[in-house]
Symmetry: C2
Subunit: 385 residues, 2 copies
């Protein structure tokens, strides 16, 4: 059911003619209330797309009536005219819904540097408004309309006691997506105010979207939004709400990892025994982004020397003599030297688990990544995206 | 002539049986004086190979009689036993040359995590000592003996007035080599003391080896050594010496860039108008290491949106409205939006020049890199190295 699962939401996904392919390319998610609390987190990239600048601004009110999303163009690096296009899109949605533009967030994904075809966007908004519906199909149509190089729609739901969370996502990461954009819209019918919604969203994304790192790239458009209708009439505790939001977010992140461009492996890198959680995340990311590690794993090679090389670049405390490196349960490096022959670690399957134990403290983190394959090179060299 | 070009040096490269292939795998470079000043710069990786730990230690004296180098094994992550192997190698060289181990630097390259076959190393040192010779062939043999996945030996020379500099290199970078190791030995017959040699080497490597970034990896073994015999009797000014050392180093770096694994493009990224040189270097590296930029360039695609995305991740001052991005002389992005159609920039040739002008200051730097190709993925996934 994804975004229409929670009571109080309708959605639509239509083919507006933004994409040359004629595929669905414009989605609308509407919160019919009674509540309209909302929160958002956005890319840390210094080059921010027009829709990010707009949505960040309107989210200061922590209220949203609707989100409009398009694929087929990122509307990034498009100057003041691009910002006006985003504003005009929000105005158009506000008009058809009888609300103000300040209650409409905008998300875009696709090629950087090109203006959007605004006639298509406007007529697409009209078509989407007519198609708005609380059905499962409508949510799936919306989830499809935001895809770019994704091979499938990615949706998830979570059930509380008398309330629920739903959401969809496209792309491949929060701080390190593999293509132009990672966009996610989450909905809930729980009763929760904007401030708590913001707290819950930051807590959830910090340990889910923020820990997926496919190729170190951070998009100009990354956005995660959550909208709360309060239609269930149930007010969960903040802890309870945050836990379910984290669980639904993680479900979506696993789907991003599985569908990342060219990926043949789903790799979990756990760094434990770190002096701080920040060290653990940093070291995990350094390993996840290392092309020599990623190509070795594409070749199913437990080449722990490359993992040691990669983590040695980290700006974090490391003691080589305490360090342990294991792949798929086999400890290959310990006590400053080789522990077991790497032939003992079988990495031929799709799922690979790397555990690095620094033995320096109590903190740990897991970064999810993928391998670097011929498919990745092919997709990203043969097509502009 | 490379390392034997300057007066006072002999070299050798032999097949010691360290590599299973039977190729040359052990090199010796000897300084017959009269001077023995030396300097070295080493990897910044926190995981340092045994030969790096050893050579850094002996270089504190700023004197070297000889350098022994092996391919076929990095002797990294090999614990105290690995360090003893390096020490024993230096002792063996000292014995055959009638000097002390403290005057012998050691460099190793190859797979991380395996001990060296010390019997082969020892008999190889004997064979190399017998083959020592001041000829051009001897220098070329030495340059060949350190290669791993390199496809050719890389040597350079530079001529001062009555003095000269020679050198060889293997691998692909100083702070970001593409494989296990970048090693370089430079020689000179100029009269120069250890302190000035050290200053000149740091100045030269900072703008040459340190600005090559093939894939962001920093080896456990990276080493650049320079040995001065003083045999010419000529004492150039420090500025003159530094200039020639920089020029010879840059020649070697260009050869590394050309021979990087799987590279189909030689890419120069110039960042100008930066608030500081450090910002220019940092932004150049961020672009050079971005897989979406590298795959687009492999596909000869002037996808400047990916360059904008990559540099937006930099921890440096950036003003999108002032930013300009040009590829091969065509300005594609300026004034916050698209400047020219990217079809106008032809990137089909091997050489690609990217110029990013931040318009924020007076500083600039150029980072040399390569593309991310199927060949890179193939070499690094199909073979352990």
């Amino acid at each position: 059911m994804s975004v229409t699962g929670p009571a109080g939401f309708r959605a639509a996904g239509v083919a507006a003619g933004i994409k040359a392919s004629g595929d669905r390319d414009l989605a609308l998610v509407v919160n019919d209330g009674p509540g309209q609390a909302a929160a958002g987190v956005f890319t840390t990239n210094k080059v921010k797309a027009a829709p990010v600048l707009w949505s960040r601004q309107v989210l200061q009110e922590r209220r949203l009536r609707a989100v409009v999303l398009n694929s087929g163009g990122a509307n990034a690096c498009t100057g003041p005219e691009g910002f006006q296009d985003t504003h005009a899109t929000a105005e158009k949605v506000a008009e058809v819904l009888g609300t103000g533009a300040i209650e409409v967030a905008v998300c875009s994904t696709g090629l950087i540097g090109e203006r959007l075809p605004m006639d298509a966007v406007r007529s697409g908004v009209d078509a989407a408004a007519r198609a708005l519906d609380g059905s499962e199909q409508a949510a799936t149509d919306a989830a499809h309309a935001v895809l770019t190089t994704d091979t499938k729609a990615k949706q998830a739901t979570g059930q509380g006691e008398g309330w629920s969370i739903g959401g969809f996502v496209k792309g491949a990461g929060m701080l390190a997506p593999n293509l132009a954009t990672m966009l996610s819209v989450l909905t809930t019918d729980a009763v929760i105010d904007g401030e708590n919604l913001d707290k819950a969203l930051r807590a959830a994304t910090r340990v889910t979207f923020d820990r997926l790192d496919v190729d170190g790239g951070t998009s100009t458009n990354d956005t995660v939004l959550v909208l709360a209708s309060g239609a269930s009439g149930v007010e969960p505790s903040l802890a309870e709400f945050t836990a379910l939001l984290t669980s639904v977010s993680q479900d979506l992140v696993r789907q991003l990892q599985a569908d990342a461009e060219g990926a043949t492996k789903a790799i979990d890198i756990t760094v434990r025994g770190a002096a701080s959680e920040a060290d653990a995340v940093h070291i995990g990311r350094i390993i996840a982004e290392d092309n020599l590690v990623k190509t070795a794993l594409f070749g199913s090679d437990p080449n722990w020397g490359r993992i040691a090389m990669a983590l040695g670049r980290a700006e974090a405390e490391i003691d080589v003599d305490k360090l342990e490196i294991a792949t798929n349960g086999v400890t290959l490096f310990a006590g400053g030297t080789k522990a077991r022959d790497r032939a003992e670690a079988d990495l031929s399957g799709r799922d690979i688990e790397i555990v690095v134990d620094l033995h320096l403290g109590e903190h740990e983190a897991t970064i999810l990544t993928t391998d670097l394959s011929h498919g990745y090179v092919e997709e990203n060299s043969a097509y502009s995206s």
